[in-house]
């Protein structure tokens, strides 16, 4: 398998009955930060659990560091740091005790690095982590994930529920982690502003399907919000339209090729689109397509 990707998913399926992860395929290039974007319940956590081999998948293949996870994931996890939205450590454990547990689990556990992070994050080593604030808990998880010389961080909503200052601090830590380009991050979040700051690649997921993936800058550069009168919507080439939002004030159209649209419709205003707008429009478009598919059936 290709070593230029730290994670590669090919047609991964998981059927829960009421929710289906439907032929998910995407890859995370080595040395990059990949933002995994989707609303709550889109399938981000399920995908992460499949990557970690924590749940059984119903189909497809997963490669981590170029190796098929079916050939043994436990060893590969020596090089992976994982951060979840909830802490996961028992409330009565202190960071010092967590250090004792982890140094007996990870071969490359670096005690000095762990206590260094605790100091940097102002986390008391002997206080029960159940008494920590949400931000402190998240920092403790990050300190744990980064203290065994991991090459890849997989994080599931690490910044959710945190105030902007702590979020910014955490984003800064991630930036430092990837600075040498040997480290990679898969960062799942529905907070697109965080991903805009740090991500190199993005994968949009909705209702168990990848609806868009690629280089973040290219995605932002290519997409635009075209504003026009309601009557002009019909004039826009359908191949350019991702989604249309018509209101009494006019129409707002997400186009997938900003340059082509500006050439074709020089009289219309085309604004830059942020990841959040792009995500909302793609989700709306995906919903509309699902409705029309159902009607056709």
């Amino acid at each position: 398998m290709d070593d230029s990707y730290v994670i590669e998913l090919k047609n991964v399926k998981k059927d829960y009955g009421d929710f289906v992860l439907d032929n998910i395929s995407f890859s995370v290039p080595t040395g990059s930060v990949c933002g995994f974007i989707g609303q709550n319940g889109a399938g981000k956590t399920t995908t992460i659990q499949i990557i970690l081999d924590a749940i059984k998948r119903d189909g497809g293949e997963v490669y981590v560091f170029g190796k098929n996870i079916d050939e043994g994931m436990a060893e590969l996890k020596e090089d992976i740091g994982v951060v979840f939205d909830e802490m996961g450590f028992h409330d009565f454990l202190t960071p010092k005790q967590i250090n004792t547990v982890m140094k007996n689990i990870y071969k490359n556990w670096d005690e000095d690095a762990f206590f260094g992070y605790l100091k940097r994050f102002s986390l008391p080593a002997k206080k029960e982590c159940g008494k920590f604030s949400r931000g402190m808990r998240m920092k403790l998880q990050i300190a744990t994930a980064m203290s065994h010389k991991a090459k890849l961080l997989i994080m599931d909503e690490p910044t959710s529920g945190l105030d902007p200052i702590v979020r910014n601090e955490i984003i800064q830590i991630f930036r430092e982690f990837v600075i040498d380009e040997e480290h990679s991050i898969l960062l799942s979040s529905h907070i697109t502003s965080d991903l805009e700051k740090i991500a190199d690649e993005v994968v949009f997921i909705d209702a168990g399907k990848v609806i868009l993936s690629g280089n973040k800058d290219e995605i932002i550069e290519n997409h635009g919000i075209l504003r026009c009168r309601k009557d002009d919507v019909g004039k826009i080439s359908r191949s350019l339209i991702v989604d249309t939002d018509v209101s009494s004030m006019g129409a707002e159209i997400l186009v997938n090729d900003k340059k082509a649209a500006s050439k074709l419709y020089p009289e219309m205003v085309i604004d830059d689109a942020g990841l959040e707008q792009i995500m909302i429009h793609y989700v709306n478009s995906s919903k509309a397509n699902a409705v029309s598919d159902n009607l056709r059936r």
Binding site: Q49, A54, A74, L93, V101, N104
Partner: protein
């Protein structure tokens, strides 16, 4: 795997305090019992019973023997509330973290069995030390009989622990309230079924001879043939461990 066992011990830390209290209480009660049996009120009562012809000297020693053996089992019986480990992991969401650790499911499951074995082993070790001292202080119970009993009950407790672990992997934490009780109910039911004839004879014909034979058989099994239960424990582990791994792998994140 070692780290997970250490984590389990942190989880059982509160229980460990109760455990130490039980052992201290046991030592105090045992010393009081030995003193009273040889020089105090129990000594006076048993001398009265012998004088009245209600019991022989051998009867009183046998009674004391059985009482001491069962009191001595407390440290093993208190060893490790395994279902609370699963509950505690589930409440904390540790199963998520466990999924990210470089430990295979088989090792994660094995760590639970090792924890159970260590707890039973610690109970047994404490019992052996106490029984060694007691066998030197009194002739009520010999060290060999004590040692056999400890091995038998340690084996039974380990079998119990294995069944609890299997139930937790089969059904998850939703059965945690019952996982500790079900094996106990099954064991009691098994004992009743095995001694059913004796029990029936006792209640219907008021004849306790068969029931006595049954109790004597169990008593001999525990105090003289500990190897039978030890072998049963090894076989149980041999069957339950791969089964638990299989259930844990099927559910994955649960383990």
């Amino acid at each position: 795997m070692k780290g997970l066992i250490i984590k389990d011990f942190y989880c059982l830390k509160k229980q460990f305090i109760n455990y130490v209290a039980v052992i201290i209480g046991l030592v105090v009660i045992t010393i009081m019992f030995v003193l009273s049996f040889n020089h105090g009120n129990i000594y006076i009562s048993r001398m009265d019973m012998i004088a009245d012809g209600q019991a022989t000297l051998a009867d009183t020693i046998e009674f004391a023997n059985k009482a001491m053996i069962f009191v001595m089992l407390l440290p093993i019986a208190c060893a490790g509330d395994l279902d609370s480990l699963f509950r505690s992991d589930h409440q904390a969401g540790f199963y998520k973290i466990a999924a990210g650790l470089p430990v295979s499911t088989a090792k994660r499951v094995a760590s639970r069995f090792v924890t159970a074995l260590i707890f039973v082993g610690v109970g047994a070790l404490i019992d052996i030390i106490i029984s060694l001292i007691l066998s030197m202080l009194t002739d009520v119970v010999g060290f060999t009989e004590f040692a056999n009993t400890i091995v038998s009950f340690s084996s039974l407790m380990f079998i119990y622990g294995c069944v609890v672990i299997l139930l937790m992997y089969m059904f998850g934490t939703k059965v945690s309230g019952y996982a500790g009780i079900i094996p106990f109910i099954v064991a009691v039911a098994g004992l009743i079924i095995a001694g059913f004839d004796g029990i029936k004879r006792f209640f219907v014909y008021e004849d306790d001879s068969l029931l006595r034979q049954y109790f004597d058989y169990i008593h001999r099994l525990i105090t003289e043939r500990s190897y039978v239960l030890l072998l049963a424990a090894i076989i149980t582990f041999g069957v339950i461990y791969p089964l638990s791994v299989s259930f844990a792998q099927r559910k994955k994140g649960v383990a």
